[in-house]
Every structure is written in structure tokens, then in C-alpha cells.
């Protein structure tokens, strides 16, 4: 039943802010639950941080003593609360292995990861959007099927396959890029991009297919809508209709997926960071896991989850602001 409902602007605004508030509340709850889960997982771990710090020769008494000092003998829930209390003040603890504050470590590593993730996202969108638009213009044509085949190929190249293969062909054989290493952005943007290009490309490829398909499918659906036919019947050119009528309503799912991908990429560049020796978050967590540095792992996972959830919530809300259909539905 579709009908016009006149709601006062004040009420609409109130409903809107209620909606925004409830989304953020939910996001906060999800992050809380993630941290609890991390603490629980870590408590399952055989052998405690104390044992790691004291080394293999430590006596059980010494370990127990240190555990008590660190508060690790308390129930998990209590540990979680105390960690949480610190975390809200920005204190994610100090690594017992490197003696670095976890928040400082994250701050140092984050720019690298964000750069790779954003670069990869831009690369994949730059490939996916034209491919999707070209394919959608002529559904089921040879071009459409060819593009679909191409993205299927890209979809089948995971980062751990792409990294060594690209390095072999583009760095070792063609010598276009450095094999490994990282030049920070402060030392020159060009040099920085030179080192960032291959790692970003390796994670970008697998995203292209997802983006291309979702936009292609949505464009295909939109182009079959009556309003597209109506716009054509007004004499608007096919190109005009594609960009001015069909593209915007078709881009909402892409936007959502891209937002989620960015969140996922920030926690998912572990492979390329390890392969190309990039000083990013992924490497931090990989090393921390290897050395059983539970405090660091906990901090990074909580941080990445928070970033992911906040990004998702923002995308969700952005959706509402961009799509008048959603906006009216909520504001009613």
C-alpha cells in the first residue's frame, strides 16, 4: 500500500535522529561484544602472557606470581571490564613483548594500512565501474559475457597468489616496481606510490568482480524499470538516461559494498603486508600472534572491529541520506 503521508518536518527530524542514534547504539554494542569475544578467545589460549614474558625456563610459581600482578588470575569478565575501562580512555595497554603502548603502535602502523586499503578500493572501483556500465548497456551480448569472464578471472586470484606472481613478472622480470619495501609518504608521494602500487593491486583484483557484478546487476534491473523507458520516451538519449537516471539508483548497493570492503580491507591486508614487508597493522597483528602478544592482538582486533562497524554504520546512514526512497520510508 503506497500512499502519501504528510508528516510534520519536526516529527520527521525527530524520527531521523532517533534512527541515527539507534544505529550508533547498535554499533557500539557490536564492538563491545567483539572485545568480549576476543578476551574469551584469549583466555582459552594454553599458556599465558606471563609464561611468554618469563620465557621457557620460568617456574610455575614465578608465572603464577606474574599473572597475579598482571591481574590475569581474575575471572575473564572482570578482566574484560578492566580492559574496557582503560580502552574507553584510549589506553589499549602496553605490549609485554615490545613494551610499546598498543595505541601508539596502532597509530604508527595505521597510515600504511589505510593507504593500501584506500588505494586498492580506488583501483578496483576504477576497473569495476566502467566494466559494469559497458556490460549493462547491452545485456547478454558478447561484450557483457566477455566482461563477466574477465571479472571471473580476477575473482580467482587471491592475494597470496597475486603477490608472488606479480612480483615475479612486474618486479623481477620487468623491473617496474620494487620487489619489497616501503617508502613512507613523507619521503615523497611518487616513491611512496611506487612501493604501494603492487601491494594495493594484489588486494584490489579480487574486489573488482564483486563491485562489477553488483553494479552490473543493479544497472540491469534499473534499465528495465518503467521510469527508464519513460525517460527514453521523452527523447532523452541512451547515454543521458544511463548516467542521469539509471546510474544513481543503481549505485546504492555498490556504495554499501564498497564501504564494507574498505572496512574489511583495513583488517585484511595481512598477506600483502607480510609479503612486501610493509609496516602496517596486518604485520603488527601477525607478529603479535606469532609471539603470543595477547595484549596487542586484543587491542588491534578491537580497533579494527570498531573501524569496520563504524564504517558500516556510516555507509548505512549515508544510504539513507542519498536515497530519497529510504529517507521517506524512515521519516514517515
Amino acid at each position: 500500500m503506497q500512499r502519501h503521508v504528510a508528516t510534520s518536518p519536526d516529527l520527521r527530524e525527530f524520527r531521523m535522529s532517533l534512527f541515527v542514534l539507534s544505529r550508533f547504539l547498535r554499533a557500539a554494542l557490536v564492538v563491545l561484544a567483539v572485545t568480549l569475544l576476543v578476551v574469551l578467545l584469549m583466555s582459552l589460549s594454553p599458556g599465558s602472557v606471563a609464561a611468554v614474558i618469563l620465557g621457557e625456563q620460568a617456574t610455575p610459581e614465578a608465572i603464577a606470581e606474574l599473572e597475579r600482578e598482571m591481574g590475569l588470575d581474575r575471572p575473564v569478565i572482570v578482566q574484560w571490564f578492566s580492559w574496557l575501562g582503560d580502552a574507553v580512555t584510549g589506553d589499549l595497554g602496553t605490549s609485554p613483548i615490545t613494551f610499546q603502548e598498543v595505541s601508539t603502535a596502532i597509530g604508527e602502523r595505521l597510515p600504511v594500512t589505510i593507504e593500501i586499503a584506500v588505494l586498492a578500493l580506488l583501483m578496483s572501483l576504477a576497473m569495476a565501474i566502467p566494466l559494469a556500465t559497458i556490460a549493462a548497456r547491452r545485456p547478454n551480448s558478447a561484450t557483457d559475457r566477455g566482461i563477466n569472464g574477465l571479472t571471473s578471472v580476477l575473482l580467482s586470484i587471491p592475494a597470496f597468489v597475486a603477490a608472488p606472481v606479480f612480483v615475479y613478472f612486474l618486479a623481477v622480470q620487468a623491473d617496474l616496481f620494487p620487489v619489497t619495501g616501503w617508502v613512507p609518504i613523507e619521503d615523497g608521494l611518487l616513491d611512496n606510490l611506487h612501493t604501494a602500487f603492487l601491494p594495493a593491486l594484489c588486494v584490489a583484483l579480487i574486489e573488482v568482480a564483486g563491485f562489477q557484478r553488483i553494479l552490473r546487476a543493479d544497472l540491469g534491473t534499473t534499465l528495465r524499470e518503467d521510469y527508464v523507458e519513460a525517460a527514453r520516451a521523452k527523447g532523452m538519449s541512451a547515454r543521458y538516461v544511463l548516467w542521469r537516471h539509471a546510474f544513481r539508483p543503481s549505485s546504492f548497493s555498490l556504495l554499501t559494498v564498497a564501504g564494507i570492503s574498505l572496512g574489511r580491507l583495513i583488517g585484511g591486508t595481512v598477506i600483502v603486508e607480510a609479503f612486501f614487508s610493509l609496516p602496517g597493522l596486518g604485520q603488527l597483528v601477525a607478529v603479535a600472534i606469532g609471539s603470543r602478544d595477547i595484549i596487542t592482538v586484543q587491542g588491534v582486533v578491537a580497533f579494527v572491529a570498531a573501524v569496520y562497524v563504524v564504517l558500516n554504520t556510516l555507509v548505512d546512514l549515508g544510504y539513507g541520506f542519498l536515497d530519497p526512497r529510504v529517507r521517506t520510508a524512515v521519516a514517515r
Binding site: 503506497q2 500512499r3 502519501h4 547491452r138 524499470e225 518503467d226 521510469y227 527508464v228 523507458e229 519513460a230 525517460a231 527514453r232 520516451a233 521523452k234 527523447g235 532523452m236 538519449s237 541512451a238 542521469r244 537516471h245 544513481r248 539508483p249 536515497d323 530519497p324 526512497r325 521517506t328
Partner: protein, 347 residues
Amino acid sequence: MTAATAAQPTSPLLEIEHLHTYIPTVGGVVKAVDDVSVSLPRGQALGVVGESGSGKSVLARSIMGLLPPKVVRSGSVRFDGADLLTRPTKELEGLWGRRIAMIFQDPSRSLNPVVKVERQLTEGMRKHLGVSRSEARTRAVRLLNEVGVPDPERRLGNYPGQMSGGMRQRVMIAVALSCEPDLLIADEPTTALDVTIQRQILDLLERLRRTHGMSLLLISHDLGVVAGRTDRVAVMYAGQVVESGATQAVFARPQHRYTERLLQATPSVTLPRHSRLEVISGGLPSPIDPPQGCRFAPRCAHTSQACTEPGQRWYELVGDDHLHACEHPAPAVSGRVPNRGVSVVGR
């Protein structure tokens, strides 16, 4: 309708001859429109009635040329003398919206939900008439006023989702009207609307057609909608026209057995309680492999050998400008038809 054409003093605005529209599918070629000839004189309204699958909507799109590339058309569609079938798309785009406008069945789907009314209403004028943004806006307000949308200034800033179905269809009509077209094609313009709103929209179309001197092609499955609002009518069945003529004549003296049956199967508000409706038994023939000869023959009670001979043979009812393709036409006095002159209630 070539015979009728010859009788016209001036050439009709729209003249369709032997139009075929075939749609290739994996299961075979769908003969959606199969040899249709109709014409629409200037300033008149032509109704096309038929049930689903009769090809009436495909006919509308075939006239416009709004079809997927794989669809094949043959025959001719002459609009003001020019054969639209042979024109390149670029040229047609100059015609669409400017000289031929179209409105659709469901106004909630034929307006872009994420584009404000203003742009949807002005983009055609900006393209075809080359008017400035502010000029287009002024015209848009005037148009909305004309089609009876209250508070037009504010409406321009609305998205379609913020309006009722009836209002949306009024906006669609304003869009169609914006460049003063010669021909308006309305494809089931009121099917998605409630009956009181349908009435408003039909009245509006009628008024605008008269004040703007437009020709109207009104497509509907509802005999009543077409009956009151058109000068001529063509009845379609399974991709073909089976009967055509002056609307009054066709409804008063249906000749083709299909038309007759269709009229009799329509429940009317004048029927007595529990009156048994005349039914058309069976279902539509396959659009891919239709029967030879009269396509209605398999469901018809009055058939002979002649009905299955290939092709349609046309007969004219003299004095009525009324054509039909039935070998065994309904007698003029048949069934309930003569009683249909009675008004709904005594007032």
C-alpha cells in the same frame, strides 16, 4: 486498415500497415504483433483493447521504437507521413517526447524515484524546446497547474515517493504534455489506480486532448475505459487486430465473435443478481506457434472450415465504417448487446 484509409480526406496522423513485431526467445519466436494495420486520424482518439497477451502494449512500443535491439519489426508505421520503422534512433529521439509522448501503466514506477519532479518535468523541455532553466521551471509550474496538481511550486521539489498514485499520474501527464506533442500514447494509464482516481485521470486526458488538439492512442484491457473516451477502437487478440471501427458501432454491434464474447463476459453493474456470465472457454493460443487462420477459432463456438484457412479475411459492415475478420460474424441483435444502452441507474 487500408480500406478505411482510402476513405479519409486527409492523411491520418498515424498509419500503421502490416506491422509485425517478432521477439526471438530461447523457446522460439514470439509473434507479439502479427500483421496489424490501424490508423489514427488527426485530433482523434483511437482505443486499442485486448486481454493480456494480445500484443497491445508491444504495439505501443513498436510504434515508438522503444524495443530491445533483438526485436524485429516489419511493415510500416507512418507518423505524419514519415515511416518511423526506418528512422535511425538519433532522429527518433528528436520525435519522442517532442511529437509523440507516452504515459505508462503504473505511475509509481514510471517516475524516477530518486530524481525530483522538477528535473523529470523540465528535462524534455530543455532538450526539445531549448528553453532556459528558469523558463522551463515557469512552464513546469503552469503544467502542474493545468493537470490539477495543487501547490505546484512545492511539488517541483518533491520526489515521486512523496505523492499519491493519482498525483503521480498527473505529473506523468504533465511530463507527456510538456512539449505539446501531436500524439499521446497512453498504455493502460489508469489500471494501477482506484476507480474514483481513474475517473479523474480519464477526464483530465479527455480535457487536455481537446484543449491541445492532440491525438490519443489509448490502450486498455478495460472495454469501459476505451468505450467512453475514444472515437475509434481496434480489438486485439493474440497479436492481431480482429475488429475495428467507430467505437460506438463496435460496442453496439460487435461483429467478431471474440469481441462479442468479451463484451458478454464483462460483468456490468446493470446485470441482475446471480446472472450467469457468458464465458470464453479455453485459453490463449501459443504466441510462438499460433493457429492458422482465425486465432480465436479454437475457442469459438461458430467455426467452419473457412476459419482455419491461413490469413485473415476482412469484411466491412457497410454504413458503419466497421471492419472485422470473422467468417461467422455475430448477428447484429445478439446476446445482451442491444440492452446495453440503459444507463447505470435512473437519474
